[in-house]
Symmetry: D3
Subunit: 286 residues, 6 copies
């Protein structure tokens, strides 16, 4: 038993020694599982009636919704407050603002839900229209990973714009883990966006994507260079309205613009802008 005993001692010492990977009592930091729980509650608010035990019955829907909204605001406020405290740390003046900011951000998200629902409604229609295999909106909602990634993005992006740290990223990585689609919550994405299959898609923080854009699995919208100094610059491409990008295309660079209505073929490698209406293709292998 003394080997065990000794190992425990060593581990306790290592907690003193290798500090950066412990979460201290003193520090505030959002809890991953709590954030995911809130997100799932928000998803049920956006898509009412899909839970096993719940339907849109006229009788209790208002109470179910009232309960859900209060629960979301309560939980989210607590996590956002921790995220803000973590940044201001010992600054007592700043700390005093954190709670109000957290509550405001949570309520603002709830107030935005109808607008988020409107946009996601268009995304669902885009998926339905864009995939010959889709038979109904309901099928898209329960089974399309692209839609899951986009709807989480729309929530995370709103929080991001409200100045909420870390939490939008936890949300987008949750969706990344489930779908293989990695959309940075900072990206700007227009309406009626559709991602098909989706595994391996990466959309960078300073991407700007127009309306009615359609992309396939493995597409990277990335940076040409990854240097710290560029942190606040636009490093990722702009995709204008009505563009389609086929599987595994790679489009890089902050000044790269894919003009309206262009079609980017699969497996292409694009580091320069192309004018509206372009058609880029990959030659076949030999």
């Amino acid at each position: 038993m003394s080997k065990i005993d000794n190992a425990v001692e060593q581990i306790l010492e290592s907690y003193q020694k290798y500090g950066g990977i412990n979460l201290d009592e003193a520090a505030n930091f959002p809890n991953r599982q709590n954030v995911i729980n809130v997100l799932q509650d928000i998803q049920s608010l956006i898509f009412p009636g899909y839970r096993v035990d719940e339907s849109l019955d006229s009788m209790t829907l208002k109470f179910v919704t009232g309960a859900r909204v209060n629960r979301i605001v309560g939980m989210l406020t607590r996590e956002i407050k921790k995220a803000l405290f973590f940044i201001v740390r010992d600054d007592a003046v700043e700390q005093s603002h954190c709670f109000n900011l957290a509550e405001q951000a949570s309520i603002a998200l709830i107030e935005e839900i109808p607008e988020i629902r409107r946009k996601i409604g268009l995304d669902v229609q885009a998926a339905f229209a864009g995939d010959p295999a889709a038979k109904s909106n309901e099928e898209v909602i329960v089974s399309y990973p692209g839609l899951e990634a986009i709807s989480v993005y729309r929530v995370a992006h709103f929080l991001c714009k409200s100045g909420v740290p870390v939490i939008p990223r936890i949300m987008s990585e949750y969706a990344h883990g489930k779908t293989g689609i990695d959309i940075n919550p900072g990206a700007t994405i227009g309406e009626s966006f559709f991602i098909d299959h989706g595994t391996g898609v990466v959309i960078g923080e300073s991407c700007v994507i127009g309306n009615n854009v359609k992309i396939y699995q493995g597409v990277t919208l990335g940076a040409l260079s990854v240097k710290k100094e560029l942190m606040d610059k636009k490093r990722h491409p702009t995709i204008e309205d009505n563009v389609t990008i086929y599987a595994n295309a790679t489009i890089l660079g902050g000044e790269t613009i894919i003009g309206k209505g262009s079609v980017i073929g699969g497996n292409t490698w694009v580091t320069k802008s192309v004018p509206a209406g372009s058609l880029l293709t990959q030659e076949a292998s030999k």
Copy 2:
């Protein structure tokens, strides 16, 4: 508190306004979680003895199996009936057939289980034979994502052929989420199929794949064009027996045939047929 109150009202109104993403009481639609529960039960029927609390003991195996089969048929019938009702909607004559069809399809699946097990047995052997790292069948079953995706496909494909809507897709997207491998349940896949690593693989609805085919991560077997009008046409390639396709190859088009025994190198881009015994490669980058 009145902000919350107001936000709840707005959300309730948005439920009236943005209809396509609610699930109405009146409508019948399969519940995603229920479908996944049935699928996991079917997986335990296919691979007996792998659950923590269960072994193949001669004493109670028949009752465990009997319970499982009855539970699967009961749950699956209910979900299929909802899927069928969702389509026929107000047509009372059609509605009257839904329950019988649902029950028949569920029982047919159960009757097919021995045949599905035979095929999956061959897939396990193909994985064992095809991967130098595989040490036993059991290792393949508990840890290979390719096998998980293929075994879910074999179940979903059978339901698909029985005319069950939506549910096969929910099943295949569940496997897609877990493995990164996206096999459309409509695809036709022969025996002894092996997918290694698998992340990013996409196999389209009208693909036809022969026996003893081996494919690696990131392979797309897709369509050249994605138009609604082509919905019922063969849009995806045919892969004949004994073909190997290496990582990230992209093979597109409904008339593209990869002849028997061909080897398609990694990162290749193929949009035309190749004869039996071909070897396609990608040139190295400079």
Copy 3:
């Protein structure tokens, strides 16, 4: 009901007939869920304080740690013993060693935890330094899939070197399923390793990776040929210190060496060694 009854009989018969995919009572084999439970416990040991209900309080931390270490050793010993028994099967002499070996391997892992924590601490710093978007170590720990894959690798690799069969593979496939990053536990990886985005990354069994290496999504470090005879040969490339490999690059072959400080561009295809300081790029598509 008799159709059901008959189907159950057929399934029971199929359990006799298609043997390779049942798990027999007689056989010992690690249970997947148990292994994952142990792994999650080890993750909490490595990153203390991140669970909802737990903080690094000076009062009870030693008991929480003591409990966790004992639980891990108990559970892991049992699973390793099963893994070893599965191999020696009927050899009674060998069987007699299995328990001691299992206990030794479990305790050795626990003794290694401080060293594993030291290395993972460097990986966290590498992620923080390498990604302009990273705001804190804590953010990296709770949301970066690359870090999750690497930290599971470091645990699985240690068990692998201790001669523990199957269990390291179950661990790495668990991480693969969650992150889309597939690192074979046999690979040799240096310090300060960073994988960004990560979906689709594959790192083969005999890869050797130096210090301060950075790779992006979709990178394959694979074998040129996959033949059984090569099972014990070095089949996968060597990546020297300070190399960066951009998205979707494919580097193949056991004799391929990427020299120190090289930068491998996205979408490149590399099957031969390149000297230190090389810069490989993909030309843009037209």
Copy 4:
């Protein structure tokens, strides 16, 4: 297997044959588990801060409370509606009122919570004052079965007075099962009521109990005769203010009045009224 098959058939037939103990699809009836879940939520509303994961923090208390109140009203309305439907059955006019009545009764309970809390506050003080062993109000709340039974009674009694069928009884039997104290929700009980130990206490439907009454384990306040015809008569005793009733005393009959300030000794058998200030005792055994 055919024995099993046959037994299932027999059981299915018995579902047709022995009707009174099935719950039909057509019938509405409150679900026991749902009612208990609502009750536990109400208990958390009454005693805030006692849940593991929850404290009275000024920041989120209003949202936690808002969520809880909405959830209670939603769930309770649904169960009450079922209870009312069960009674009116096929009467369509009456059915149309059920939902409104259910909602009104649920909201009325919520509006009563502050008053219920005031009364339970007095009950807690009575327990603290009446038991030499009680060290704090908090101890009474977390550990006294008498308080649990009384607080459930106060909720169930309010619903009972609002005309809610069946549900108050399910609540009181839940408390009976946990504490061994059986208080009919129809009983009328004054303020500052204390039950010590409590196992075996029975308080009948038409009991009237004044203020500051204290009773011990095994006390029965029952009926002399149990005939259907007496269903709407006062069948149970009246206990005036400041009475103490010791263990296992039995007091029976609707006209029996225990006058103010009386002390009823343990094991006594009382079927007639006693004037204020009486002292009844049991002689010792020989």
Copy 5:
């Protein structure tokens, strides 16, 4: 830490030293939780439609029932086999019979379910008729502890008569814990039995109770003397048809017979037989 270490050693030693309260690996003994799980499944078989997620729908009821019956037989067989093995221990010949006996007893119980349901139907009616407060059979089923105790008794008694050891006792103590009513599974109880309130009721192993008997809380039907030698003798009273026994009456002795139609008043103490039609009462205290 060494105090903890030492304490663990002491506890491990105490496992060697104080043997009678460990459960050895070698020994077979039914697991309490498993037995309770089976019992709850049996209760759902007896009262179909009462679970939250389940109704008597004509479509899937047969499969739900088929699944439940198979699960019960499988689980119960395993537990009964352990109970039998525990008794025969090292006798290999006897051991060989245990499995068959266990399976037979489980199947016999399932075959008895329709008859048990018939009897419990009568018990429900007796409760409805005997309690002025009962409004419906459904109310009796979801809320009367007396009915819960009696229905568990009817199951446990059948197993007891089939020679199943220990398990009936675990079942009856489970009901005792929930209701405060302690009915020995060996007792013989006629039809239409009703227990009101019930806390503190004790019914001994060799009691014989006729039809239409009604008893209240705190009634003991016990033995006059508790000596080992009397183990197989009738030690508990006989209660003939149509007898009513009021609260806290104590009736003792194997030769004590309460004649048909008698009424035994509350708090009485009876150790001798009384003829049919007797009325026994307790005098009031002074």
Copy 6:
């Protein structure tokens, strides 16, 4: 919705107004559910091998035990510290001792486990010897409520003697709720104690009970008078060695001594001492 909104406001105000029944953030108080979790862990330490998933296997028992002991000490220390803080409140000097006292008390309990196991071993034997129906020690352990109450008492009593507030009471009320047996943790009880059936038993705080005592359901060992002033006096009876007390007997008063070897009949009422070897009985009713 505004009724709901208003009700929430009223409830929030009531949290300000009726203070004594809230649990404040500032206050420390043990959490009931946490205490019960620790207690159940202690029960598994006392009776090893009875959990579904656990056996006394020589391989992992030491680690399972080590994990359990550490977990118990960690959780119990935290709850005891809260219980002590609650008492000292704002006294900073006293606060500084609380943690050490909490840890000491937790470790002392663990060190006492072997002795507690020795005593409980005797209690099991007493139950086996005293009940003709008991077939094995194992049956007593899994199904006798008397044993559950006594074993919880032995743990709670030790904590009580160590000066731990509140927690012993939460433990004993947990056992009371499960068994109907209410043993105050302050009572002094000798070895080989047996309670049969048990519902309704009450054993007061200053009771002193010798060795080999046997009591039946409904027995009260209580106080004659319940005044606050007597709080620290001996208010409950002394029961000497080898006494048997039959069902529903009531023995009251701090100076009442039941002499060695006496037999107290059922339903008796005793308020004075009786000499050794007495036999008290209740006359039969007429």
